[in-house]
């Protein structure tokens, strides 16, 4: 007579725990990598945005022919940090870089006119937490851009000499 056993032996339990443990060992890193990959991708997006914004601002600023705002500091000193920069470009057009109420950084051209309208401006980047500018002497502008991603701040700063300033 065949005797049917019910239940599981201690050895089986131990094997099951071992297998589960082994699986968990593989699973955890996978989920962890996945989470980290997402974070890294977000950060790369941010870095990319920052680079684009920096390139756009520095490209416009470096051929500038004059700074109208922030005001000129006395002598070789430096101004405080301001939140906008207004300058003349190589064609003496007046441009302004500012942060709008939707956290978008905008390049606004006072001379981009169609009939009686001014173009809205060019969005340089979004999710910008802070834009700060200060002026060194007559022709040097330093700016800082801060983006906030996942409660972390990323900041880039640059210092540009305007080549067309008299």
């Amino acid at each position: 007579m065949k005797h049917k056993k019910n239940g599981i032996t201690l050895v089986e339990i131990l094997i099951a725990i071992a297998v589960l443990g082994l699986m968990m060992t593989f699973l955890f890193p996978i989920f962890s990598y996945s989470r980290r990959a997402g974070t890294t991708m977000n950060r790369l997006d941010v870095y990319h945005d920052i680079r684009k914004v920096d390139h756009a601002i520095s490209g416009e600023l470096k051929l500038g022919s004059g700074v109208l705002y922030p005001p000129k500091p006395a002598g070789d000193s430096t101004t405080d940090w301001y939140s906008q920069v207004i300058f003349r470009n190589h064609l003496n057009q007046v441009l302004m870089v500012y942060l709008n109420e939707q956290d978008k950084l905008v390049l606004f051209n006072y001379d981009d006119i169609k009939d009686s309208y001014l173009s809205l401006g060019r969005f340089l980047g979004s999710k910008v937490k802070d834009f700060a500018v200060r002026r060194h002497g007559n022709s040097v502008i330093e700016y800082k851009l801060t983006f906030e991603i996942e409660k972390q701040d990323f900041t880039i700063s640059n210092r540009i000499t305007l080549v067309n300033v008299f």
Binding site: T40, M41, G59, Q84, Y117, L120
Partner: protein
């Protein structure tokens, strides 16, 4: 045996998840890398192009590497290249390259009778194109290298002609030349030196008679020679008894500008790379900067945007005023476009071209200091720069003259222009103070504006009183050059000559000085292309060729008994006629001005300040403003109309015309006639004079006014400051004022005397 379980399935699923996560990350990284590479390539191409501009600036500061030395008295045909090309890899091999092309742009009008040349071209500016290339990205940047006083075009120098090729042996020196005069209706070109009244190192000015000449055939008439500027005599080039011809220098002056305690200032050449501009790809994508015809197309584009550059400069007076009001106050961290416009208005100030030019010139003068140095130093220097009137003191008239004039009731002729505003005569007047004096005159033509900044007419007076029979009519004639008064009752003729003096810009901090005429010419080159001419050939064979004067006298042969070697100076030839240029196989392309849309300069006849136009912003930011800004409601209502408040929106600005795809071909003008070179001729001593005869026939025993054989003075009546206005008299200013009167015709051969 059948196996149960899902381990394999689970492994596959987990593996897939793992693979997707990793590959997603890798793909994203790769995409990111591509973006980074693209952005980096664009940036590198720009940096390479900028490096090219920087390289060109530092190179051009020294000279034009593609040019050849200037050769005075030689024909310059087919030798001088109009451009130079340079390939560089500033960041190392494999890190991209930059191609730099520098191209000379000539002044439209040549100079005459200077630097050993009858006709000579000067450099207006240099167009610099730098094409940066990194991988598949390209960037073309333009820069304009401007120089003043102007260098000689057919040379490799970028120093002002008076510094690089000093006409008088000393850089920046000024010649005092004999000038043509009119005696009894006859024009006199040849003189004998009767008296030299100054010696080396003497200080002289416009009222100093430096020499007295007699017309060759009229020893009883005295002609006074005066300098047209103050200075110190560096060399006396004539002796009593010598002959000289109109245009010959009788002496050379050097100028020292005393900066009152800070040493002395020295005249220098101003050089700078300006208007550094990134040219849009759509303009140059099918052009080759090594092809001169394509560069001509590019220069047309640059000419086209030069007006925009000027117009934009003056367009935002309201914004600038608002910014002044804001001062150091910080605006909110985050703003809408409409809120910005409420604080910083976008009103456009349309104005006339004259006012725009003069405003730009004035702004630059107010902010000008010597090149180089830190901003701190510049700012300090700004408070000290000034304009100095050439020999500012007015000569105190002799008592005898004053008494005479009082007796004649003509004391008023002693007064010069201070009646307008005595500040114009200040020895050292601050720039901004000077410009404030000119503020009401901003709508006059810029040439007039520049003249008022550069010189003071009627700054001094020369008065002569002659006694004799001058007819029976009372005469009182006055014009801008002088006054003639005849009092027949007293038998007196009073002649008043009004003398113009120049202003110089002085920066005492750095010891830099430049004539205001040259400084203004420098600033005008920022935007002005009217006075320039881009080349239409690679080597100057038809256009912009210089034409020589006869060479100066070499040392004479060894003297021998029985006569004298006399220098026959030869005669100037005729420069070739202007070539004709034709543009073939090309098409006209039109491109829009990059800015301005409906904006244009107002006609000169309209209100100089123009009309104002208010603008609103297209798009969401404009809408946003309807939510807030209660105080700005009325403004918004106006904006909501979406129309210009004033009628100023009509566009009169045409598109920029570009000639593309064709070639310029030139047809030479009428051939020139070479000058005949001078030579020494032997003139035997005349036989002893017989009683009652005079010894000079003046017909075939030849000699010359020698000197350096260059330029001629212009105009002038007996006793005017010698050769004052002529280009030869002032090499520093000459190139900037090329439209000088034509030189007097060559003097006939003259009899034997030593030459001035």
């Amino acid at each position: 045996m059948r196996r149960k379980g899902s381990a394999i399935m689970m492994a596959i699923i987990l593996g897939s998840v793992f693979f997707m996560a990793v590959s997603g990350l890798l793909r994203h990284s790769s995409g990111e890398m591509k973006h980074i590479k693209a952005v980096s390539s664009v940036k590198k191409a720009e940096m390479l192009a900028m490096s090219g501009i920087d390289w060109a600036e530092s190179e051009l500061r020294v000279g034009r590497w593609y040019g050849k030395d200037f050769e005075p008295y030689e024909k310059n045909i087919g030798e001088h290249q109009t451009f130079g090309v340079k390939d560089l890899t500033p960041f190392g091999s494999g890190e991209g390259k930059v191609k730099i092309v520098c191209e000379d742009v000539a002044n439209k009008v040549p100079g005459e009778n200077m630097y050993g040349m009858q006709k000579i071209w000067f450099l207006h500016h240099i167009n610099v194109y730098a094409l940066g290339q990194f991988e598949n990205q390209k960037c073309l940047i333009y820069g304009r290298y401007i120089v003043s006083p102007e260098p000689i075009l057919n040379s490799k120098s970028t120093d002002g002609a008076g510094f690089a090729s000093p006409e008088h042996g000393i850089p920046g020196a000024v010649g005092v030349a004999a000038s043509k005069s009119t005696v009894n209706g006859e024009e006199i070109f040849d003189y004998v030196v009767k008296e030299v009244k100054v010696s080396q190192y003497d200080n002289v000015d416009v009222n100093t008679v430096v020499a007295i000449l007699n017309p060759l055939n009229d020893p009883d008439t005295n002609i006074e020679v005066r300098p047209h500027t103050f200075g110190v005599v560096a060399e006396v080039k004539c002796e009593v008894g010598q002959t000289c011809r109109a245009g010959d220098n009788v002496m050379i002056l050097t100028k020292t500008i005393d900066t009152a305690g800070a040493g002395s200032a020295v005249m220098k050449t101003l050089k700078k790379m300006v208007r550094v501009t990134k040219i849009p790809l759509e303009i140059w994508k099918d052009l080759d900067i090594e092809d001169r015809n394509d560069r001509f197309t590019l220069s047309q584009y640059i000419n086209g945007i030069s007006g925009d550059y000027l117009q934009n400069f003056v367009a935002h007076a309201s914004l600038e005023n608002a910014l002044k009001d804001i001062g150091n106050t910080k605006l909110d961290k985050k703003l809408s476009a409409q809120k910005i416009l409420n604080k910083l208005p976008a009103h456009i100030t349309n104005t006339t071209r004259n006012r725009a030019e003069n405003t730009f010139l004035a702004h630059m003068i107010k902010n000008f200091t010597a090149p180089g140095g830190t901003w701190d130093k510049k700012e300090k220097a700004l408070n000290k720069t000034y304009l100095k009137l050439d020999h500012p003191k007015t000569t105190k008239p002799p008592k005898e003259l004053v008494d005479w004039l009082s007796e004649l009731g003509l004391a008023h002729v002693l007064n010069t222009k201070p009646r307008r505003d005595s500040r114009y005569f200040d020895p050292r007047m601050k720039n901004d103070e000077f410009l404030n004096l000119l503020t009401p005159k901003y709508n006059q033509p810029p040439e007039k504006f520049i003249e008022e900044l550069s010189q003071l007419s009627d700054a001094s007076r020369l008065i002569r009183i002659e006694e004799g029979d001058f007819g029976s009519s009372q005469v009182h004639n006055e014009n801008e050059n002088g006054i003639t008064i005849i009092n027949p009752d007293k038998g007196v003729k009073v002649t008043v000559e009004k003398v113009t003096k120049k202003y110089s810009f002085v920066d005492p901090e750095s010891g830099f000085a430049i004539e205001m005429q040259d400084l203004m010419s420098f600033i005008k080159k920022y935007y002005d292309d009217d006075g320039s001419q881009s080349p239409r050939e690679d080597t100057r064979t038809n256009e912009h060729i210089d034409w020589p004067l006869p060479k100066p006298a070499p040392p004479p042969p060894t003297p021998r008994q029985g006569g004298t070697y006399v220098w026959n100076p030869g005669t100037p030839g005729t420069p070739p006629g202007e070539p004709t240029w034709t543009y073939k196989n090309g098409t006209k392309h039109e491109v829009d001005h990059p800015v301005g849309d409906s904006r244009d300069f107002e006609p000169h006849t309209s209100n100089p300040d123009g009309g104002r136009e208010d603008y609103e912003v297209i798009g969401e930011d404009a809408v946003e403003n309807t939510d807030g800004g209660e105080n700005e409601e009325s403004e918004n209502d106006n904006w909501a109309t979406g129309r210009c408040r004033t009628t100023g929106c009509k566009s009169t600005k045409g598109a920029i015309q570009l000639d593309k795809g064709g070639k310029w071909t030139g047809e030479a003008g009428k051939p020139g006639v070479d000058p005949s070179q001078g030579s020494y001729v032997w003139v035997a001593d005349p036989p002893p004079p017989e009683p009652g005869s005079q010894g000079n026939d003046g017909s075939d025993g030849e000699e010359s006014g020698g000197g350096d054989g260059t330029g001629t003075g212009t105009g002038g009546t007996p006793g005017t400051p010698g050769g004052g206005g002529g280009p030869s008299g002032n090499p520093g200013a000459g190139p900037s004022v090329p439209a000088s009167p034509p030189p007097p015709p060559p003097a006939p051969p003259r009899s034997a005397f030593g030459a001035c």
